[in-house]
Every structure is written in C-alpha cells, then in structure tokens.
C-alpha cells in the first residue's frame, strides 16, 4: 500500500511538473492532424502574437501569486487604461492630438498611463498589505470602481486608439510581430528580476512563509506592495497592446481577461498558495497553451461558447492539481 502511494505521489509530481508540456504537445499534434493550416510557421507566429499582450499581464500576475495574493481587477484595469488613451484622443485638444500622433509624444503618454497602472497596483497592494483585506475582495471592488470610471470617461461608446499605437501593436520587426518582441523583453527582464535579484528571492521567501520572512528581516509589506505594482504596470502594458491590436476600445474590452491571465499563470505551475512559480518557462508556456487551445478550437470551427467551457475546465484542473497538496483551511 505504501509503495502504491509512493507511485501515486510520484505520478502526481510528474503531472504537476511536466503535465503542461504534455498537454501542449498533445494539443499541437491533435490540432495539426485536424487542420493542415495549424502547424504552419505563420500560424505559430499568430499564436505567439495573440498570446503576447495577455502574456505580459501573466508575468505581472505571477508576481502577485508568488506572495499568495491574487488580482482579479487586471481585466478592468486594462479597460480603464486603454479607455484613458482613447479618451485623450477624443478631447480634441490640438497639442494633445499632435502628441498622440508623434512617436515620442505617444511614448510619453503611454509611459504616463503605464504609471497610472502602477498606481492602481499600489492601491491594491496597500489595501491588501497594510489593511489586511482579502486580495480577491479588494481587487473585486477596485475592479468595479475602475470599470465605472472607464465607462464614465468613454460614455460607454467605443473609442479609437491613436493610429500610431495600432501600427505599433500590429507591426513587425522583420517577420516577428512587435508585440512578441515586447513580450520577450518583458519575460527576460522580469525573469531576471525574479531569479537574480534580492527582491525576487525575497518574494519567493515571503510566499513560502511570511512569518519566517519577517523574522529573517525581510520587509514583507513593502515587497508585497511592489508585487501588486508590478502586476498593475504589466497589466497596463498588456492592456495597451491588446487595445492597439484591436484598434479601438469598446465597453466590453478587457472583461474576463483576468480569467485568462490567472489560469495561464496557474497552468504554468505558479501556485495560488504562494512561493512557487516561474515566469520562464511557467508563465510563458501557460499563456501559449491557452492561446493554442483557443486558436485550435477556432480552426476546428468550434462554437465560441465551447471556448468558455474549455477555459473553465482548464482553470479548474490546473487549480485542482495545484490544490491537492494544500493542507490549510478549507474555505
């Protein structure tokens, strides 16, 4: 019986560690068999391109999940940030208009709204760390506030984003889409931060045990807040690129993106209970897997509602696997 249990545990470990690769491989083979167009370099690039904006947000989410937090406001902060950009275009101020049409001016404005994303993260972080509120309640509430503010700004109309941004988000360097380049850069930077800086290692430590971390002299609250700020910043970048890809921000923009982002992180092996997870390969493989599922289902002409069900099943199983060894309270 003992031996059996050991075998089971080993199998489980294998599944949690490498299951995502197996799943990806199986899916790629299945979809390739189902549609000849699937396994072309064009389509694989397309998958990367579709995955990139959300992938950037997943990187931020990993930071928050590592300290056993969660941010379900990320979709709505994407909406607010993008709406602000669209809104600036509708003000009709000549100077502002000129800026939006100028590369450097646009860069500055984008920089400012990304900072705004950081401020949103700061608010979430402070409420969670200093005021000891449950992360999912905090971010549910701030999310609804952001959505309200965004709708107020746009008057619930769809707004166009600056053409320069559209060109940026849909452009290519050589044959590689720019968004993919941005994604890679973000992954490289933040993977480095996580692995090779004191901050990153402290995050892992806090996730493993906040009490021990405090005893070891780590500034737990400050690091926690920074994690939420990172999540806010990267969520904003992802949102901006996603809006740029579409070319406009409608009232429904960003709704439900938090599902994709969180489930991608968890699929990539990041634990909801903190202290475990990675950006490369974890987050990257997670978002690619989800995008592949969506892409492949579309190629098989599946009903779009199946996507929702598939998304739900994916997140359910990813989290069920993550939870099996959890020994805390049931709630």
């Amino acid at each position: 019986m003992k031996a059996n249990q050991h075998l089971g545990n080993a199998l489980l470990l294998l599944l949690t560690k490498h299951g995502v690769y197996a799943a990806l491989l199986t899916l790629v083979i299945l979809f390739s068999l189902a549609n000849r167009q699937f396994c072309t370099s064009d389509n694989l690039l397309l998958i990367l391109q579709q995955a990139s904006p959300m992938g950037i947000a997943v990187v931020g989410m990993v930071f928050v999940l590592l300290v056993a937090g969660i941010d379900i406001s990320v979709g709505r902060s994407m909406f607010l940030i993008s709406t602000v950009i669209g809104f600036l275009g509708t003000i009709g101020n000549d100077v502002l208009g000129a800026w939006l049409n100028h590369s450097w001016g646009l860069a500055l404005i984008l920089g400012l709204v990304v900072v705004m994303g950081g401020m949103i993260g700061l608010l979430n972080g402070v409420l969670v760390a200093r005021w000891h509120m449950l992360p999912f309640i905090v971010t549910l509430a701030t999310g609804s506030i952001m959505r309200g503010v965004g709708l107020k700004l746009s008057g619930s109309a769809s707004l166009n984003v600056p053409p320069k941004l559209v060109t940026l988000a849909n452009g290519r360097v050589g044959f590689i889409p720019i968004v993919v380049v941005v994604f890679v850069v973000v992954v490289v930077i933040f993977d480095y931060v996580l692995r090779h800086t004191q901050y990153g290692r402290h995050l892992m430590a806090i996730g493993a045990s906040a009490k021990n971390a405090n005893r070891a002299g780590i500034k737990v609250n400050r690091n926690l807040v920074i994690a939420y700020v990172v999540c806010g910043v990267l969520g904003a970048v992802g949102g901006i690129l996603s809006a740029g890809q579409i070319g406009s921000v409608a009232a429904g923009f960003g709704e439900g993106n938090e599902f994709i982002v969180i489930s991608a992180a968890v699929l990539g092996g990041t634990s909801l209970f903190g202290g475990k997870g990675s950006i490369f390969p974890g987050a990257v493989i997670g978002i690619i897997l989800i995008t592949t599922i969506m892409n492949g289902l579309a190629m098989m002409n599946a009903s779009p509602f199946i996507y929702t069900i598939a998304k739900g099943l994916v997140i359910f199983f990813a989290i069920a696997l993550d939870s099996i060894r959890y020994r805390g309270e049931l709630r």
Partner: protein, 332 residues
Amino acid sequence: MRNPGENHERKVLWMLRDMPILPLLVGSFLLAIAFVPHFCTVYNLKNYLLQSADLLIISCGLTFVVLNGGIDFSVTSVLTLGSVLGAYIMALSPLAGSPALSIPVAILAMMAVGLLVGLVNGLSVTRLRMPSFVATLATQLIVLGLAVQFASLVSDTASIAGLPEAFFVLGGEGRYFFVPILIAFSVWLFSHWLLARTIFGKRVYAIGVNPKASFISGVPVKKTIVQLMIISGLFAGIASIVATARNQVGMPSLGDKMFLTTIASVIVGGTSTSGGFGGVGKTLLGVLFITLLNNAMNLLGVGWEVIMIVLGALIVVSAAGEYLLNHRQGRV
C-alpha cells in the same frame, strides 16, 4: 465598563459595530423620501421591493459561504443556466404544450441546477482542497459556457421566449406582485431559521471562526462546507426562477452583471469576509440598502457607471471598517 457614564456610549457603539448599516439605511431612506422625486410612490415602492426580491434570495445563499470565509462566484452562472434550462423546458421541450406539467418540471430543474453546481463546488473545496474563490471562478466559467452553448443549440435567438403566462406569477406579474416578495421573504426566513436555530447554523459559525477547534469538537467540517455550498447554489437556482419569471424570457446573459451587487449586499450588510460573523439579517439590510441606492440613483438619472464606482467604494469601506473595528478589539 468601569465608568457608568460610558455605558450609554458603549451601547450605541455596540449597535453601530454590530449593524453599522442600519442607521445608514434609515438615513438614506429618509433622504430618498425627502429629495428623490417619485421615490415615495406606491408604484415605486412596489418596484423597490420587487427589485430586492431576487437579489435577496441569491445574497442569502452567498451569505452562508461568506460566513465560512469563502466566496461563491458561480451563483450568477447558476442564475443563467437555470434561466435558460427552465425556459427551454417551458417553451421548447416536448413538455411545452402542457404548462401544468412543464412549469413544475422547469422549477425543479432550475433548483436542481443550483444543487448540482453547489455540490460540485462543495466537493471541490473539501475533497480537492481548492480554495472556493478559484474553484467557483472556474465553475462560473464552465456553467456560463454550458448555458450559452445550450441556448444556442436549442434556439436560433439567444433568449428563449414564449414561456407560459402562469409562470409569470412567480415574477410578480400584475396583481401578483407580492409573490416574488413572499418567496424572497420565505427564503430569507428559512435562512435565518437555519442560521439562528439549527445545529447546522451553529456549525457554520463555529467553522467560520475556527475550523480546527470545530473539528476537534466533533463538528463534521467537510460535510457542513458541502452543505453550505449546496445552499448557495440552490438559492441561486430559486433566484433564477424568480428572475426568469420577472423578465419573462430565458436569458443567457441574465446573471452576467449581478455578482457585484450580490457580494456588495453581503459585505456592506456587515458579514465579515474572514468568516464567522454576520448573518442573513445583516444581508437583508445590505440588500435593501443596495437596492435603494440603485433605485434612487436611477430615479435621479445617475448612470450605472457611477453606481458601480459607489458599490466598489462601499465594499472597500466596509472591509476596511471591519478591519479597523476588529483590530482595535484585538480580534483579527
């Protein structure tokens, strides 16, 4: 305590701490009567109660889960799937011809949907040890997907119309406006009875405060958690009956936007998000307050986006207030 002069102050404080929403509700109500045009008309007060009905039912269910320190995101999807399934049975299925048969079957089916989803949630939490906020996030997606997929399979248009007239009574059609109010009130009364009088209720509170001590004291922790998740789902199923009857169609978008108001009702009402404190009495006040806010702002022509902002801010303020009060009391 030591100083008799403090006694009165302590009583007020006790009341404010225990039911901070009550003076707010009364105050807002008076403000609304005084300043909101057409608020205090029979037509509007009737609307007000009708609008609270389904919210109260669904919030009561959610209260049980929040009392355990958890959350149930899937209630809105249960509302949706129930609505679509019930409407299908009443309007499109082979039973559709005989309302006398199809209506009860539909009602049972809608409740069964809630029961089933609640069971899955409960088992996910207890057996698979998933935290409820992600387990239900996932079931929310799955159930919503099922609802929309089902609707698109059985009907060309997304919403399913053509329900039997008799069913609308449950939604308060015409002179039967008291029916949904009565249903909601019975559900509330039942919840209150469960929590205040039965052993199940006592166990819910005990587990919410200290699951470990409850377990050692012989409380069947897992069973109780499954039960309260089932209640949450079941009540969402009942709410789905009332909401469907009220809108008179089966809608795959019925619950989409409802979660915020639901959780806001529970939290603003004063049930603690960390579990063990609160109850449906508070939720009732929360529901009345949130609906009042919605209704009054609507009458004033304030946009829904402003209401969203206000609801979000209220949740933050309630949770922060709870933290402040408890921190000083040394609870936490």
